[in-house]
Symmetry: C2
Subunit: 349 residues, 2 copies
Amino acid sequence: MKPTLRAVAEAVGVSRSTVSNAYGRPDQLSTELRQRILDTARKMGYPGPNPTARSLRRGFVGAIGVLFTSRLSYAFTDPFAVQFLTGVAESAELHGSSLLLVPLPADAAGARKAVENAAVDGFCVYCGGDEEGEIIDTIRGRGLPFVTTSSRPRAQDRWVGIDERAAARSAAEHLTGLGHRRVALLADSVLPDTAAGRVRVPDVADVPHPTTRERLAGFADAFAAVGVAWSELTVLSAADNSRAAGAAAVLPPDALPEPTTAVLACSDVLALGVLDALRGAGRRLSVTGFDDIAEAAPAGLTTVLQPGVEKGRRAAELLLDPPVAPDAQQILLPTTLVVRTSTGPAPRS
Amino acid sequence: MKPTLRAVAEAVGVSRSTVSNAYGRPDQLSTELRQRILDTARKMGYPGPNPTARSLRRGFVGAIGVLFTSRLSYAFTDPFAVQFLTGVAESAELHGSSLLLVPLPADAAGARKAVENAAVDGFCVYCGGDEEGEIIDTIRGRGLPFVTTSSRPRAQDRWVGIDERAAARSAAEHLTGLGHRRVALLADSVLPDTAAGRVRVPDVADVPHPTTRERLAGFADAFAAVGVAWSELTVLSAADNSRAAGAAAVLPPDALPEPTTAVLACSDVLALGVLDALRGAGRRLSVTGFDDIAEAAPAGLTTVLQPGVEKGRRAAELLLDPPVAPDAQQILLPTTLVVRTSTGPAPRS
DNA sequence: TTGAAAGCGATACCAG
DNA sequence: CTGGTATCGCTTTCAA
């Protein structure tokens, strides 16, 4: 067993406070005594103050939690999530905080417990689906600060994000400007428990996932503006947010009904999958993505750039170094449409 | 202020132990009493047992630390590191552990402090350079278990890795088999404080970073076997492990002296950078990488596959669920040479 | 400067 | 099934 601070104090013949000061407040004791304490501590194999005990006493931990609503290990396979994490890490690094990545069990009770048990000073909640509400309630129940990045900032809550709807609209307007009128919209799990491929969605408002809903609504806005109603748009659902799922979603025969000239995907990985599938089928449609991940440029994918690293950086900053002004608690980041080669004029019919 | 367990106990009129049991050992009290406790706790806004206090008392945290020797935020930009992390996350998830990513300050004292202050049950140490030794000493000083993945397993220590030297050799043998004799070897920071580009290395043993040294030695082995001495090999150093740095390293005029027919890189990102540069220069050499990251296949890069996700998974397993047998504490993972289009026969001179 | 005392918030053993 | 008691290891006034 490793010795404790108490043991060191006894060995040196001073009080525990003095040993504590030797570590945490060097100015509170003579250099000489401090050195003597540190030396014997080293000699005894004392590893320094126990971090857990210190946290308990001090009331803060020095770590922020990061919550991914999908499985944690999936997060690393999503390039955009990795960008976000990079930004969070940058801020944490600067601030000297650690990052606690907390795996959330799929069941609500388990997820709640995981959030309750995390030893952190606050949370970054990444990309919330409908389960986000409960998670946030749990965090709030603990009285901890948090930052969300989903599409629905509640007043008073810290948030960093983009105007999802307007961003999506910009991609769609690019296509309507090119003359596209018959298009398919593609998103991850548009409706719960549906197979990959075409799904019937009576109304955009029926889409449960907030971010997906906003993006689809943005696409729809642009088409509505040129007289194409929601009911005339094909909606495709992917099994998950991966390249393979994107490819699979456009494979069913009814996925891209004949006059279709373009596919608007809610993420770059899905869009890249669509390009894969189209290439495989020898078909050429216009395709747009969302995020502008690193793979987008080499693939020539037209997409909406959202600053992922900055999103993470600002989110962590908001948590670690909160601004005083209440109106600085919500940060709206800009997006940019990046036009590449995956989109072109609609063929004249 | 949030109420504590004590307050709940007083409110319900039972002892603290009973409230504690209501949370942690439901079988130790009547369902009825438990419900009553939980209900009033909820009513009072008690967030459940404080994780830090619980950890202190229980003596374990439920989190494992992950240490990257380069800057934490860089780790996410390295595809292989992300693979590793994915694997670690998978195991952690399965085991219900969280992952604490600890940023290590560049200075040794700061790094030591960071390791001492991390509230974790053990560490995964990823890819150690020469600073690894000190970090491991610090961990050992704390008496915590750890797993390393670098090229030099010490006896008794838990380790998961590959035979770096043999793996590198397999790539080089592929090239010697194709007739290549004049080649350049490329690695990240071969020598400390040298500019990008060609460096003079009297002997492989002079390379400080253990993994780099092993891989270069493996390359050299294969060439030695066909009569090409170390001194006849061009050694190139990149500024860091990135695609851009890989490209930059082969740009200086003396980087690829005329008879050179191939470049062997110590990582895929460097190799991809070389391909970029060669394409830009309109030059065509054989190029090999190391790791087999996702971008390697589409780029047609011949490379040595090492199972990154599995490396992470096994490392975390070794930590979370240590095998009893002492000889199962060190796991050697297989590597495979994946031949693609970036390598071909050496042009007859 | 140094030290005594009082917790931080919870858990576990062991009687009852 | 319930509660008393003794920690877990450290930090922080406040006096001396």
